[in-house]
Each structure stands twice: as C-alpha cells, then as structure tokens.
Symmetry: D3
Subunit: 212 residues, 6 copies
C-alpha cells in the first residue's frame, strides 16, 4: 500500500486522515511493525496481486482477528471444493450487489472480470445478475445465494433440491451456503466502517485482452 | 475432502437420517475418527457446555473450514474487546432474530439467559429487542446491529456517531460490526442447511435461579 | 392480579408506575372495584390459569371494550370449530412472530407449549415456523396465516384451494382467516401500548413433563 | 354450527353462486331463518343505512362470532371516546388503504365521505392519506395508525409522545390503537374470503350536496 | 382552469398560493400568454374534456418539456396499438395504485370509469386490481405491469411468456412495458411536486348511466 | 447499427436472434429503411458517440414513439436547466441502480465517468451512491431522487425543503423530479424487454486520462 512506502520511524501508526482505509480511527500498524508472518503474508499479496487488499490492512489493527479472518477467507475461496474459483467470486459479487457493498463489489467484481476473462460478466453481476449469460447450473447457484441473502428465513428443502437438480452435491451446497454467508459478513463489516477498496480494482481487467 | 481419505471403517460416518444435524448428507466423521486436536476441542466443549454444539459437528465434514470458523468464532466471542461477553451474545440474538435463524436463536438465546441471569432478557431479544429494559448504550449497540443487518447499504457516519455518543471507541465499533457480520454469516449457513440446535438449549437457563 | 391484593381503599386505581401493564396511564380499576361479572371472570382466570392475563387488566379501563373483546376472543379460541385449540394457538404464534409482538408471543408461545406438550414446537413457532415438524395440513394452515398477515392484498382463490386440498372446509377457512385477523389486531394493540406479558408465561411449560 | 342444526327447509341456505358475499361456501341463513335479535339488528341496519352490510351477512353463518364481532365493532366505532366518528372512520380507511382491502375501503371510504361531507377527503384517504388537507392532530393520528399497521414492531414511547403532543389523552391513544388493530383484523378477514362490498357504497356521498 | 379566466395583464403568472396546481412556485404562464399552438391544445382539452388537465398547466412553465411530454403521452395513450384505450387506462391506474399517486389515480380512475362504463371497475383498480372481474388476458397484462412496477429487476422471459400465452404480440408487450414505464414516470413527477388533480375528476362517471 | 449495413433488401427486418437489442421480436427497420430525419439522427449519434444507442434502435420499430421519446430525452438531458449535464447523469445512474437496470447503468454509468472525468464516481453511483465523495448539494439531490424512486408516496414539503436548503430553485426541483421520473420509466421499459446496452459502454472512460 502506498501509505507504507514513505512512513518514517516516528509515524508507525497510519494517520487516520491520510489515505484512510476505513472511517474508523483504528491503530493500524505500519508495515514495518507487523509481525513477521503477517508481513510475509502482506508481501505475498503485494507480489501476487500488486496490492495489499485494504480489508487486510484494516483488520491488522487486531492481529488475532486478521489471522482468523484470513484463514476462513482463504479456505472458502481457495480450499478444496467442487466450485471453481470463478464460481466462488460470482457468489461474492451477487451477494455484495444485493447488499450494495462498495468495497466487495469493487474487489470481487474485478476478480470476476479477471477469472472469467469476460469484463461484461463482471459488470452484469454487479448490476443485475439475472441478465448474465451463464449456465443453468450457475444461475441456480446464484439464485440460491440471492434468496439466502435476501430472505434467509425462507430456505427449505425445495431450494436445496433445485441445486441438486443442477448436479450440485451436498458438500457443494454447503460451500455455496458458506460463501453466501461469508460475503454477508464482509459486506456488513465493510459497509459499517466505510472500507475503501484499493483504487487499482476499478480499472483492472476491463478489457478481454488483459492477461488474467 | 482430505479427512475422508483415511476413513477405513464402514461405520465411522454418522448416518444421515439418525439425529441429523443438518438437512445435507455430509461426510461427518464419528468422534473417534476426528484428528486429535479436534477431538480435544470437542471434548472440552462437552466438558464446559455439556454438549458439542451441532454447528461444530456439521463443520467437521471439512476440518479446514471447521478450524478457520472456530478460530474466528472464538476470537470474536472471547477475544480482547471492550464489549462484554453478554453484549456480544446480545448482538448474536438480535441479528438472528431479524434473520429468524432457529439454530442461532436457540443457542445464543440460551447464552443471553445464562450470562445475564435474566431469562426474560433472552426472551425479549428473541421476540423484539425494542421491548428490553437495557441501557441506552446497549440499545444504541443493538440498533446499530439491527440496521446493519437489515439495511447495510445505509450505514453512514451519523450511525457511527450515535455509537460514539454512547461511549463506544472506534475499535469497539469495529467489534460490533464484526459480530453483526459474523452472525449474518452463521444465520445464513445454518438456515441454508437447516442446522438443528442441540436440544439442551431450549430448556436451559429458564429460571433466574439456575446457576450460569 | 397479585399487585392489587394489597391495595388500600384509598388507592383503588392502579398506580401507573408500579407494575404497569401498559405504557399508557389508563384508569385501570382495582379488582375490588370491578363489576361483579368482570370480577368473577377474572377470578375464574386466576383459578384456571393461575393469573389474570394482563390484556384483560389493560382492557378493564373500558369495561364495554373488555366485554366485547373477551367475547370475541373466547368465541374464536374456544368456540365450535374444526380447528383444534392447539391449531388456533399455533396461528396466534405465527402471526405474532411476523409482527414481533412480545406480549402475544409470550402468552401464546406458552399455550402452544402447553397444549402440544412439546416445548420445542413453541420455540420453533416463535422463531421460524418453517422449521417445525408439523403435518402438511398444519403447514398449509400456517402458510396461509403468514401470507394473509404479511401480504393480505394478494390472497386469492389459489390460496384457498391450497387449504381445501389439505381437507379444510370452507367454514374452517373462515376460522383460519378470523384467527389470523384477530391476532393481527391484538398484536397491534399490544405493541402500540407496550403491553407487558404476565411474568409467569416465560418459564412455563418448558419441559415436556410439565402437566398441561 | 348450532344455528344450522334447526334449519329445516332445503331452500333456506343462500345459494353460494348467486350474489355471493364471499368466495367461501358458507351456510349463510336466509333472513327469515335468523334468530329474532339478529333479524332485528339486520332490519335496523336496513332502515338506517339502506342496506345490511355484507360483512354481517357473511358472519351470520356463525351467530356467536357475529354477535361478538358486532359488539366489538359497535363499541369501537360508536362507543364513548374522545375520537369523533369521522376520525374513527379515517383510521379505518388509512389502515385499509395500506392493506388494500377492497371491502373496507368501499364501506369506510363512503363513511368518510358521508361524515365529513367532503367527498375529496374520502378519495384522498383511499389513495394516499398524506395528501389530505387535515389538521396536525388528525395527521399525527393517521401517521400513528399507518406506522402501527406497517411496522407494528417499531412503535415506542416517542410515537406515543407525538400523539400526546397533539393533545391526545392516553385513553384516546388506546382507542387509536384499538381501531387500528380492529381494521387490521377486518382487512385480513375480508381479503381472505374475498368479501364483496354492498354495491351501494361506491356511488354514495360522491357530491358534497348529498345529505349525510 | 378558472384562475386563467380573470387574469389581468399585470398578473400573467399564476399566483402560487391561489388554486395552486403544484407545491412548487413555478412560472406558469396565464392562458393568454401561451404560444398559439399550446393555447389551441389547451382549448381543445377544455372542449373535449371540460377541463385542462392540471398536469399540462404544471408543465407549461417549460414549454419544451410540455411539448415532449404531451407528444409521448398522446402517442402512448392514443397511438396505434393492439391495446384498447381502456386497457391503457387500466395500466395507468394499476401502476398509480402501487405508487399511491393521488393525481394519476384521480385522473385515470375517472378514465377507467368512463371508458368501461363500469364505475365499480375504476374503484377496484384503485383499491386492489386483484379483485376486479376482468378477462384472463387483462389480468395477465396487469400482473405484468404490477410486477414491472414493484420489482423491475426481476422481469425475465417467463414473464413475457405469460403475456404471449394470453395472445399478446411482442409489439403489444412493448406497449405494455412503455405504458407501465410512463406511469412510473408521471407518478413520480406528480408525487414529487404534489400535483393537484382537477376537482372534476372525483365525482365524474360514478354512475353507469353517465354518458362516457 | 453496423449489422444492418449489409442487409439485403429481402432482409430489411433485423433477425431477432442475431445481435438482438431486445428479447422481443420487433419489426426494427434496417438503417437504410429509416425515414430521412431518423436516419440523420442516428448518423449524428454515430458521429458524436461512436454508436447508435440501442434504446433508439429498439424504439425504431415505432417511429412515432421514437420521436416522442427522443424529444423528451433530449429536452430533459440537454435542455435549459440549472442542473449540469453531469448532475442529470448522476440522477440517471442512482435511479437505475435502485431499479438494477443493466441497460441504463451501462449507458449512464459511462456518461458519469465521461462527464466527471472521474471513473471512480461512476462506479460508486452504480454500486452505492452513499459512498461517493460529492457535494452536500449533489447528495441532497440524489437522496431526493432515491427516495422518490423507492417510496414515491412519501414525498412531502419537508423533502422539497431539503433541496431548497441546498440552493435548488423550484424549477430545478421540477427538473430533478422529471429526471427521476424519466429514468424510472426507461428502467422499466429496458428491464421489461431485456434491452442490451451497446458493448462499447463497458470499457469506456475507465481511466481518468481518457478524453471525455
């Protein structure tokens, strides 16, 4: 993150007003003050993504929460599952669109554009997933995520049967539910603290030629 | 999933139909097949709570998710915070009441009855938190959790100011947001898979005399 | 009502601040000042239920309304009908859950626990009736009550046909509609005046062994 | 039901298809088969209103319910209260407009036109009460009725204070709440059974010159 | 409109307080100051309708907008289409009922009463179109208009198929959508500026005998 | 539209399946078959925008509607008004975001990026306008547009006063209301027929350096 590049020793806490990642005044440590494993994790993000996602910077004021959150995030998004990475990102965007979460739509909209190589798809999921040209399987998955987000009290066996009819196994249904839940969590945290997405997200993967 | 790869005995998987903890057919391992640290964690639950919460049994079909979920849960509910354990449980119940989550209302309703020593308070938060006789600080906290749950897209600085006016610090506001997000996650997972609360919850802590 | 037992002659009106049954300052007469038939009705309640429901005490500031309300209540809940008393109480709870009425959920949640001998059922109807293990007939009845409560403008012949398909006669459909309407009335009156349920309700019939 | 037990002639039940007052096939007795007090009540309606309101005909399949309903209706609409008859009818229309109840809007819309001598007022309350040119007191009363109808779970002391600030006493607040509740009941019963308003309502009191 | 008849030269702008057609202080020209084509259009309205609809007077503060609006209005309501004029007016009322637009319900409710010769139908569409005794074709048309008004993001091929199944062509579906859109526009403009319907609407066409 | 250029005489109607602009089978004329003024208008669009907006192609199956719609569109978006072109586009996006209209969000999101030279602003208005860093005046304007879109029945004098307090004149309030209404119209038409935005919109004006 840029704000870390010029931090002098005397300014180890990020000034709240300058490039704030949230609207809260949190004791976010400077990069150099992060414990080694966290610093390594952040460096790895920088390397692979070209940025440290602001959600991680924000969580870093509480290293225990950062650790637990990151583990769950990585497990759900990159762990073993019958759902492809793109499908997991699609769920992230559809849930975040319902909740109108600026941070998550920016970050995961970019990820859908990246993983699909289809910038239009990213736009469609942000705006109204019902217009997207996707498979019946993916549509059923997103309908379930949408309903579980908007009316969680109404999910019943018939809803699960619609997923099974599209070939989803019961462990995959669990994963769809877990991911839907996860983004209902992050949407609320990001919204509550006005988390700012890294500016790099907005322009990235806007062209189908851009290497993913 | 890895944990199943070494399952050898035909009887080690919990029969789906008998005392099912969810409506999904998940490869939930028998207690004796759990890896040692998980078995220890479950035994500790049994000891301290008199039961292994069904949410943990359900998650145990995926030990990586179980681990990440448990860490986040324990950090948010029992980690360092300016919020008391009762206040964290109060948020759990109010969020779950909005989402009408049977599992979470049963488990955390019992926890509110337990930690408060006030069975009536638990009932009120389940039914309509606005009728509860609580402090202005707690009411502001619950109003924020309610609004963040129902209309996450509308939270702004004025909402955070209402919390600061009641003495909440910015890290405590983060914690309120994190907890609200967390139960919006678990409500959706539990609802999606029809997770069954342990039957012990319903009758427990119904009398003010019952030792917490 | 117990609080009236020690009222001295000079204090025939219940003090508004002490054990108030509503948030309004209403001229609620002391028990000894009630007209004979009302006093007898209240005594009968005390005998049979162990309490005089606070809704009756509240209404007693207007004896004509009390009389009319009680007649309608008793006719709908205990009059001739193809619906069992438990089924009528189930409707009461489901309607009150939608409207989040603390008074009615407390009183009728207890009644469902009592009449069913199934404490879990009472909890489920309070929290989310969709998770309850009930007959298809009862589920159709509660779905109708729920829809009529939440979207009264949308009920049409198809909705009534769903009830007939479960064996409900047209007079029973009338009764389901009447009961649903009735609790939509009481929920609003109780909510508007912050009516307090008698404290006895909360702990009662929490165990399946408790005699109904 | 008891009233049918003594029905002797095959023709005394109103044919369901001809001029049906509801979509249900109910054993509505012919006028000549009504018990004397009911027949007198209906005759009095005919005399004073020029019609027997269909809601009474519909209820007459169950004479006990008819009696209890009529008592409550008459007490709330014509009993002692600080609210004028017009104000009570205004509440009826505003509640029924929210619930889009054809029967109640027809009957009570006509009553508002009649009692106010202002046909425009009746139309406005049916369409959107916020456009009506009424006193601040009446507006506060209708805002309370609207909120209690649409979001009963949110009413609190501040809402009651808004009424007190307009001069409403606590017993009048009770009456506003009772009336709001009552029409939330009748709207649901009428909607559930597709109750047909007497055709006379629609054209009546459309001109300010028409004698009330 | 009466206010224009006696306007002296010095008072070419309508006084905002006297017979205002909106709650805005707009530079509405006096009739004599209108450009010739507009004056002719208004005179034609007066002749044919017995009034100049207030929406036109209101728009006349901006003659370009008035011209464009009138053209679109006339094209949609009176241009070539497979929809009858009555059907177009029915859509107007159903959309306006959802949006609770006093102006449009008054004007188009009268039009439905006029074109149908059925005063009851006008009332029903204002109150709850689901109770109207209309053809399956018209019901499908109104269901589409209702859903497109209330949940525009959910319309999909299945919705269009329901219209085609009732015999609507694709250009007629376009017209239904255009009309539904148009009244969603006018409802919002009229509501935003508190546009007053011409008083003549309310009493007109209340009797089936009244010549249309 | 390019695809029409090579249409032979026999194929003057655009095949519905190939590059369809809507989900309807409409008799959209080939460019060469358009009347001269329309052809000129389309050519001017092509020249200035690099494309003919699909909404115009879609409307061209009905040239009278096309003409009226275009006039109103051009008057509202480019006519005399105290609102800047950017502000008018901001309203378009905020209304379309509420209604989740894929077509309008694509076209007008691009326009906000273009006119503001601020790609981030376009994204924010699409996702959740409340996070945008805009003036208090613009925020008030968008809050009004949002409320008028979501709850048109609730707009009252206090809402207009909030606009006047930000310096908006009454004619500007009219324009805000007109624009809000207009996009509530187009959102519904576009949604109803599944109108496809021109693909050029999605990638355009994504960088602040791109010339507007």
């Amino acid at each position: 993150m840029p704000q870390n590049k010029t931090n002098s020793q005397a300014q180890t806490r990020q000034p709240a007003q300058q490039n704030p990642v949230t609207a809260l005044d949190l004791p976010i440590p400077a990069h150099k003050d992060l414990p080694e494993p966290v610093a390594q994790y952040f460096s790895k993000c920088q390397e692979k993504l070209g940025l440290v996602p602001n959600v991680l910077s924000a969580y870093s004021h509480n290293l225990e929460q950062l650790d637990a959150f990151s583990r769950l995030y990585n497990e759900l998004m990159f762990g073993d599952s019958g759902l492809s990475t793109l499908e997991r990102e699609m769920i992230a965007v559809v849930v975040s669109a319902h909740n109108r979460c600026f941070y998550c739509l920016s970050a995961h909209g970019a990820a859908v554009r990246q993983y699909s190589g289809n910038p239009l798809l990213g736009e469609q999921l942000v705006m109204n997933y019902r217009v997207a040209d996707i498979s019946a399987r993916q549509r059923a998955m997103l309908d379930f995520a949408q309903r579980l987000t908007a009316q969680p009290e109404t999910i019943e066996e018939t809803d699960r049967q619609l997923l099974r009819a599209q070939g989803f196994s019961d462990t995959e249904i669990w994963d769809i539910a877990s991911l839907t839940g996860f983004y209902n969590m992050t949407n609320r945290l990001a919204g509550a603290v006005e988390m700012q997405p890294n500016p790099e997200y907005h322009a990235s993967y806007r062209s189908a030629d851009e290497p993913a």
